[in-house]
């Protein structure tokens, strides 16, 4: 039998982005011995790419802000499918998590009186995003990383990929992983496992997400019997780069619009004024002048329509493109350079507040954003859906298995507000880590699993064994075909017939994935790594497709051409997915528990 190394911890955390790092710190501070397993080097996780900021109702810029307004904004943005308990905890605890980062060394941009500066963002009523220029994610991950490395009872296992969760009875009791560098296997035992693996963007061809975003946590949890929820809700960020081809999908921060950037079609029209949804009309400016006053901090002005929620902005852009009013490369124009006509030091201001964007366009597209507009279009950015968890503890439906951050569902409902992700990571990362530590120390010691690892390892090695067979497939090709298919059939605009075609396509891709052969050895072999990611991508693609078929309406990130309107019937439940007895994916509807009276009142008052 294949040999493997063995490690033992109280709590394992899978993933080292914002949620994973904060969970590990939380668990370690609660006294647990923690193993932190991550696919990349420490500090490289996808959080590093978050740009705009971290939403927290601190009221530093506008003292009318408080947790109640943030809660109501989050629920409105999520079209009330959110787990309201999570939205409540998030709004209440985010300010403490921002201050905690400052206490750990983060250096946010400052207000004139020396406090943490907050900026405007889509769907947030007041300036709420603590930020550092447009590299807030880097600041968060580095702060957490630099705090974590000095903590004694955390062991970090870098460049290791978890391929299976192990169970004893109903409980999770460990994982099987391989290290990417040498291709050797390890079995980790632990009483509690926190998944913090991020999203699924690599299931689509146009995405702002890195190679790591292959839905590992979603798939590991699903295969271990946990329920997934809201998987139809994928966020297509309205502003990704569209040109040149090699950078298609790379994110352009919403901070550009927060700083006064405007969207125009090829005729120069600010088309966002043409379609303002009913539930946002009262708080949205109806003329350009008022919109500009808002981004300049005028408390009596309403926000410009460019700062409507991402789902809506993305659809408006699609409409312009489809109706022939797009830019030369199939997007629309995003212009920040125009603020020079309003601000005397406009050029310097753009470079100070949006340095990465300036750099990114200059270097990758030969565009100077202080002088000319950018061309942008929607890009797959985030999945609102994920592992169903308890709002307070983040425990999944499998005992001992927790989830935090993007791979968990609930906080964002049908659509996530910009800035609510970074705060999500640390609010629920902390909660998950602490709850996992509490759970782990209450259980009797997990015993090392005996038989399961052998089978997992031989399955993982099978692509090497298939090396010379006829009809062998390349892992890169299968992945690419999957991405192309999902983009075109289950992308930003969906239809029943196309999604059914996608389900057939997924069956075919599963057959091809089973024939993937990998040349070369086990040491740092990307072809092999991609082959092992395929199972996860196929599982999450199927989950998205089946949930999207079930939701016969349009809401938030989910838009159906054949059911273009919101349907009140679908406002009552979440869609769940579980693995059936024969390995089939079972779809069900789970009623949303009625909102607590005091929270209902807040929602009403903030309407």
């Amino acid at each position: 039998m294949e040999s493997f190394k063995q490690f033992d911890h109280d709590v394992l955390v899978i993933g080292a982005g914002g949620a994973g790092l904060r969970a590990a710190i939380g668990a370690a501070e609660a006294g647990a011995s923690v193993g932190l397993i991550c696919k990349s080097l420490l500090g490289k996780a996808h959080t590093v790419m978050a740009e705009g900021g971290m939403a927290a109702a601190m009221g530093n810029v506008d003292d009318r802000d408080n947790w109640q307004v943030h809660f109501a904004d989050t629920m409105r943005g999520g079209q009330y499918l959110n787990n309201w308990r999570m939205a409540e905890l998030h709004a209440k605890e985010a300010p403490d998590r921002v201050r905690e980062l400052e206490a750990w060394g983060a250096v946010f941009d400052r207000t004139e009186d020396g406090r943490i500066l907050q900026r405007n963002f889509g769907g947030h009523r007041y300036p709420r995003l603590a930020h550092v220029g447009d590299r807030t994610g880097l600041e968060m991950i580095r702060t957490l990383q630099d705090h974590l490395v000095y903590i004694q009872n955390i062991q970090v296992y870098m460049e290791s990929t978890v391929i299976r969760l192990l169970k004893a009875g109903d409980r999770v009791n460990g994982v099987v992983a391989y290290d990417r560098e040498r291709g050797e296997f390890s079995v980790f035992t632990a009483n509690a496992v926190v998944l913090a693996t991020g999203g699924i963007g690599r299931a689509f061809s146009i995405t702002s997400n890195s190679w790591e975003y292959t839905g590992d946590g979603h798939s590991l949890a699903y295969n271990a019997g946990a329920a997934l929820q809201d998987m139809e809700f994928v966020q297509f960020h309205p502003t990704g780069m569209v040109w040149p081809p090699s950078v298609k999908g790379v994110l352009v921060t919403e901070g550009v619009r927060g700083e006064g950037g405007v969207l125009r079609n090829k005729d120069g029209r600010r088309f966002m004024f043409d379609d303002i949804p009913e539930n946002y009309r009262a708080q949205t400016a109806d003329n350009e002048e008022e919109g500009w006053r808002y981004v300049q901090g005028d408390k009596n002005a309403r926000r410009p329509p460019e700062l409507l929620t991402r789902d809506h902005v993305a659809r408006c852009i699609m409409r312009e493109v489809r109706e022939g009013r797009g830019s030369p490369h199939g997007g629309v124009f995003l212009d920040i350079s125009w603020i020079k006509t309003r601000l005397k030091d406009g050029e310097a201001h753009i470079k100070k507040k949006l340095p990465s964007m300036y750099h990114q366009f200059k270097q990758l597209a030969d565009i100077d954003i202080t002088k000319e507009p950018m061309e942008i279009g929607p890009t797959t950015h985030y999945v609102m859906g994920g592992i169903r968890v308890d709002g307070d503890t983040q425990m999944s439906t499998v005992p001992g298995l927790f989830a935090a951050g993007e791979c968990a569902a609930g906080l964002h409902g049908a659509n996530r507000l910009g800035g609510n992700s970074l705060s999500d990571l640390v609010v629920f990362g902390k909660r998950a880590g602490e709850a996992a530590a509490a759970y782990a120390t209450k259980q009797s010691r997990a015993s090392a699993p005996q038989d399961a690892p052998a089978q997992v390892m031989s399955e993982a090695l099978s692509p090497f064994a298939r090396g010379k067979e006829a009809g062998a497939e390349s892992s890169f090709q299968v992945q690419q075909d999957l991405q192309t298919m999902m983009q075109s059939l289950v992308g930003i605009v969906r239809r029943e017939d196309e999604m059914k075609k996608a389900l057939d396509g997924l069956e075919e891709l599963k057959r091809r994935a089973a024939k993937v052969a990998v040349p070369g050895g086990r040491e740092f072999n990307p072809g092999w790594h991609t082959a092992l990611d395929l199972g996860n991508l196929l599982a999450v693609s199927e989950a998205v497709t089946r949930s999207a078929l079930e939701r016969k309406e349009s809401r938030g990130g989910h838009f159906r051409d054949d059911y273009p309107e919101k349907d009140p019937v679908f406002s009552k439940f979440n869609i769940l997915l579980r693995r059936g007895d024969n390995g089939e994916m079972v779809v069900s509807r789970e009623n949303i528990p009625e909102m607590r009276g005091d929270l209902k009142q807040i929602v009403e008052e903030q309407k």
Binding site: L41, H46, M49, A103, V107, G114, P526
Partner: protein, 255 residues
Amino acid sequence: MSDRATFRVWRGDSSGGQFRDYATKISEGMVVLDAIHQIQSESASDLAVRWNCKAGKCGSCSAEINGMPKLMCMTRLNSLDLSQPVTVEPMRAFPLLRDLVTNVSSNFRAKLKLKKFTPRAADSPDGTWRMQQTDVDRIQEFRKCIECFLCQDVCHVLRDHHKHEEFVGPRFFVYAAALEMHPLDTEDRTAQLKEAGGIGYCNITKCCTTVCPENITITDNAIIPLKERVVDRFYDPLHALVRLVRGKRNDPAGT
């Protein structure tokens, strides 16, 4: 520009290796990392390379392109002479794992040689601090660092003299400077910089500053001020006299 280019890529592991040529199709806007991915998918699926964000934000895809330390994701093909093969090789200051991937673990040990951030007591009863933007502009420059380790790669103390365990290197002088100049920090790392950090090895050739993809002025803004602190503390005769008179206030061995 012709529609194909040749990439001369280092293939091998710690036991040895050689350059191998791969020709691939090129298109508008392509960067070196795109070409490497294309080669992977067409003809070398086991070609080892680290990458993540592909937007210059994570610092994973560091390599030496035509001999220059660069991020592969930010190096446009139109900035290179494509009439010749483009050489792509791993960072040479670190032990090779495979192909373009090196063992950078020494970098992850270096931080622990420097004391962690320790803030002063909060300024306000609600536990928050006040800092002016002008007071944090300087360290915000340092905190742009994406830990790509290109500065470590180009530094001759590491690259040619292999002092990885005695000299923390430019990245960690930037780290130290961000802490030392942090308005809230109360620690003193001067002795650590001299001893465990080995800052004396740096003879300010500024190669690190030249290769920094984030344009951090590493030498002038981080290393030189730290060197000045070390000199003031340990080598200034006037200070030594003051110390002699006033008693041994600073322990040169460091704690």
